[in-house]
């Protein structure tokens, strides 16, 4: 931002010719570059125009939009995906609204003026995604998708209104957001079978963190925390037994739906593992340190595809005979092992960037090591590396395309379904590939913009 302002040359006000002279023909070299680039640009633009608007056989894409979005997912269960979209729109809206409300509270506390995000600003932030969705809607050429998208936008707006909630309801609002996200996931995946287990673990862990045990005697603290966590887990288990809503497991997901969820699930699983690995690597217990270091360096030394091969060819043999994991579950395991190592290195960077005085201050106050870690070190260290972690998640999102190589039908491999159709067996290979590239690009670009924005907002590199 400032760099461009500094570089901006002094222009004769309002003169187009002056602009051209200054920005295109400043000196001989600049002029030569311009003269070479303009014809190249015109030629490439012409070829692109012809491809997109005249020669391109986009029917291969527009007739297969459903395939690209949900691939081999059973079609009679499409309503679940629609419901998921609605719930997630509500959840994202509520999350953004609650976040905005919290920021408002903080600004008020500090006596600052809070500038709420504007509609134009939001559109600009997510323009690549919005443009991609519009392309999808135009290509679909029917009213149904427009209605669904419109409903999602309305629900997102409804969720956004949560910023109006009074401050006392913020925690509740965050909880509602989390529950909406969970509901959005489980409206497709179902709540029967073992679905209760990860939720119970997460809830138990959250309860462990928030139960106020500081006033109790030291001996009692772990006991009370444990009992409270177990009780919460038991409640979750009971609720899930009552609901027992059958669903479509992720083994049957595919297309862009799978790509997005695969990245999200792997990120969610890899984060705690990576955090523990980073702590272990920074630990002063040599055994933990060596184990963590060996693991991290081994994993970072090999390409993801070798781990996916391992998941595909070896993992099945490493489990007791009779266990049958689908290739999607195995790829999630491989992706988690891989991403955790990279996240560990990122978190370690955050831990190292924190001045030792922070932890020492905690020690001086007589805090327990775990409390220092939880209340002082981790919040600051994690905050500092959020952009780097987003970068890793983008990279993971892009790496999800490797599932193509192990024959999982994610977004890229849907091309296989399309080109198996008699109409598109030999034609339109470029068109489908360009469409897939644009799809990946829209998401990755939006995420990278968000990460740059976070980096500016958190003031990283300015301290």
């Amino acid at each position: 931002m400032t760099a461009s302002a500094e570089r901006a040359p002094v222009l004769p006000e309002g003169s187009a010719l002056g602009w051209i002279k200054e920005r295109l023909f400043r000196n001989v070299w600049s002029g030569a570059v311009t003269v070479v680039l303009i014809p190249v640009l015109i030629y490439v633009g012409y070829r692109a125009f012809v491809f997109i608007f005249i020669n391109g056989q986009w029917a291969a894409v527009s007739r297969n939009l459903t395939n690209f979005i949900m691939g081999r997912y059973p079609r009679d269960q499409t309503w679940r995906l629609v419901a998921q979209m609605m719930l997630l729109a509500l959840a994202f809206g509520a999350g953004a609204g609650t976040g905005s409300g919290t920021a408002r509270d903080k600004a008020e506390e500090a006596g600052l003026v809070y500038v709420p995000p504007t509609l134009a600003g939001t559109l600009r932030r997510f323009w690549s995604l919005i443009a991609f969705v519009l392309v999808l809607l135009v290509m679909a050429g029917s009213t149904g998708p427009w209605l669904v998208a419109g409903a999602a936008v309305v629900l997102g707006y409804v969720g956004w209104q949560s910023w109006r909630l009074p401050r006392s309801l913020r925690m509740l609002s965050w909880l509602a957001t989390a529950l909406l996200l969970l509901a959005g996931f489980q409206v497709v995946s179902g709540t029967d079978g073992m679905a209760w287990l990860p939720v119970a673990l997460a809830v138990a862990f959250a309860v462990w963190l928030v139960v106020p045990v500081e006033r109790l005697q030291a001996v009692m603290r772990p006991v009370v925390s444990l009992v409270a966590s177990l009780a919460a887990a038991a409640v979750v288990f009971g609720v899930y037994q009552v609901i027992a809503f059958p669903g479509i497991g992720w083994d049957q997901w595919s297309g862009m739906h799978l790509t997005l969820w695969w990245s999200a699930i792997v990120s969610a699983l890899a984060f705690p593992v990576g955090l523990l690995l980073a702590l272990a690597r920074r630990s002063n217990l040599p055994a933990l340190r060596y184990l963590a270091t060996t693991y991290i360096e081994l994993i970072r030394g090999v390409p993801l595809i070798t781990l996916l091969f391992m998941g595909q060819f070896i993992l099945g043999f490493m489990l007791p005979a009779g266990t049958n994991l689908s290739s999607i579950s195995r790829s999630i395991a491989a992706g988690t092992l891989f991403t955790a190592a990279y996240l560990a290195e990122i978190v370690r960077g955050g831990l190292q960037s924190l001045p030792p005085g922070q932890a020492e201050a905690g020690q001086a106050l007589g805090m327990a090591p775990t409390t220092i870690m939880r209340k002082i070190v981790l919040p600051q260290a994690l905050r500092a590396v959020i952009p780097a972690m987003v970068g890793q998640f983008i990279s993971l999102f892009k790496d999800s395309s490797l599932l193509f190589i192990i024959n999982v039908t994610e977004f890229l491999s849907v091309r296989g379904i399309v080109h198996a159709q008699p109409d598109f067996r030999v034609i339109a290979h470029a068109e489908t590939l360009v469409f897939v590239a644009v799809g990946y690009w829209a998401f990755a670009f939006a995420m990278s913009r968000e990460s740059q924005r976070l980096e500016r907002r958190l003031g990283i590199g300015e301290r």
């Binding site: 570089r7 311009t34 217990l285 993801l304 595809i305 490493m318 193509f404 190589i405 470029a430």
Partner: protein, 402 residues
């Protein structure tokens, strides 16, 4: 303090004694990891034995039972370890050329992003944002397959021959799936020539260091590049003449049926797609690093060099780039490492690199566990050697900056 010095001070009970807990914690961690590893390994061996799959590395000396396209020296009877070598060679070839391409393109684009020329800066930004946000696999497949269907390249069904003027030797052969350029063929004593070149390189490096010292101590112009290249050329030419031509140029030519390129250095399309795609993909990341590093050089440096009346190019060449590149080198080497690891995507365009060959080999009934172990070991060796280089470079750079 008072409690510690008082007589009533007792050691805490052992379950709250940090010294005991440390030891116990480590033992628990080690035992847990060992038990998990044992469980997985026992399962693995039991399951493999039950399925009658061998668990030794004897398969490495057995024939591969498949051929590799474009590799005439390799046939179905060649042992598996030779296949691994072919894979390593191909991986390194793509890695080396890709790194070259990514460095050059990345440096140019990174500088162009900060150019005062609006068009160049904009195009560079578009290039970076485009390639950075697309999976490398998509770029590879795009280069490998789709570029022919609509790109600016003409469709080469027949094959185009560009001959050396005044002779019948082909300089360049373009066909639909292969490009041929002149190659070098050993005349038997290439090994000796390589030794001569290595000695030449050592002498050239020595001269470089010497000229730098002369420059530092006396202020005389160093002419390092001149001395370096001169010494290297001298060794190369004299060595070539003394050894009576250790290698000769082989011109590319088409086979009898005019379907494939037989002699010379033939690049198949998978190779070019993989190299080009990874080169450009990595270049976009390197360009961002270069831009960030240039912007990380304090503004006072630019201002000071302007105050010394250095011109735009001189400012870059003598003041900004030397400092920026120092910041950029560690992350750029990391990108090189990523590129080498990404060569494993070559199996999407059927390029015979290590991962593709391993997959084919497993598909041909070779034991998966050992094949994957061999493949991972090779990639690990690549990564560790690059990390080693990175560490050495880091240490050197840090010494210089202080």
């Amino acid at each position: 303090m008072t409690t510690a010095t008082s007589k009533t001070h007792r050691r805490p009970p052992f379950w709250r004694d940090v010294r005991v807990l440390r030891v116990v914690g480590q033992i628990v961690a080690l035992v847990a990891v060992a038990l998990a590893a044992r469980w997985f390994l026992t399962n693995l061996i039991t399951n493999l034995n039950r399925s009658g799959i061998r668990t030794d590395f004897g398969f490495l000396t057995q024939p591969t039972q498949f051929t590799i396209p474009y590799f005439t020296t390799f046939n179905a009877r060649s042992p598996v370890w030779q296949m691994v070598l072919v894979g390593v060679k191909n991986t390194l070839l793509v890695g080396f050329l890709g790194i070259l391409m990514a460095s050059v393109v990345g440096l140019v684009v990174g500088i162009a992003r900060l150019s005062t020329n609006w068009l160049a800066a904009r195009l560079a930004t578009v290039f970076v944002e485009f390639f950075r946000n697309i999976p490398p696999l998509v770029v590879i497949i795009f280069f490998g397959a789709a570029v022919f269907t609509f790109g600016p390249l003409p469709i080469l069904q027949e094959g185009i021959e560009i001959t050396l003027p005044g002779s019948s030797n082909n300089l360049l052969l373009l066909s639909n799936d292969q490009w041929g350029i002149p190659g070098l063929v050993s005349q038997g004593n290439v090994g000796a020539y390589l030794v001569v070149l290595a000695v030449g390189l050592a002498v050239a490096v020595g001269l470089w260091v010497w000229r730098t010292r002369v420059n530092i101590s006396t202020g005389a112009p160093d002419h390092r590049v001149l001395w370096f290249v001169g010494a290297l050329l001298l060794f190369a030419v004299v060595g070539y003449l003394v050894l009576g031509g250790p290698f000769s140029i082989e011109w590319p030519s088409l086979s009898e049926n005019r379907r494939r390129i037989e002699t010379g250095f033939a690049m198949n399309w998978g190779f070019m797609a993989l190299t080009g795609a990874l080169g450009l993909y990595t270049a976009s990341h390197i360009a961002e690093i270069i831009r960030g590093s240039i912007q990380a050089v304090p503004k006072g440096q630019t201002e000071a060099s302007s105050a010394l009346a250095l011109r735009g190019f001189q400012r870059y060449r003598f003041v900004i780039l030397p400092q920026a590149l120092r910041i950029a080198v560690p992350p750029v080497i990391n990108q090189f490492l990523n590129l080498v690891k990404n060569t494993s995507l070559g199996l999407a365009v059927a390029y015979a690199e290590l991962a593709a060959l391993t997959q084919t080999s497993i598909g041909n009934g070779r034991p998966a566990v050992q094949s994957i172990v061999v493949m991972m070991a090779v990639y690990l060796a690549f990564s560790l050697s690059i990390s080693l280089i990175l560490n050495v470079v880091n240490r050197r750079l840090q010494l210089v900056t202080r």
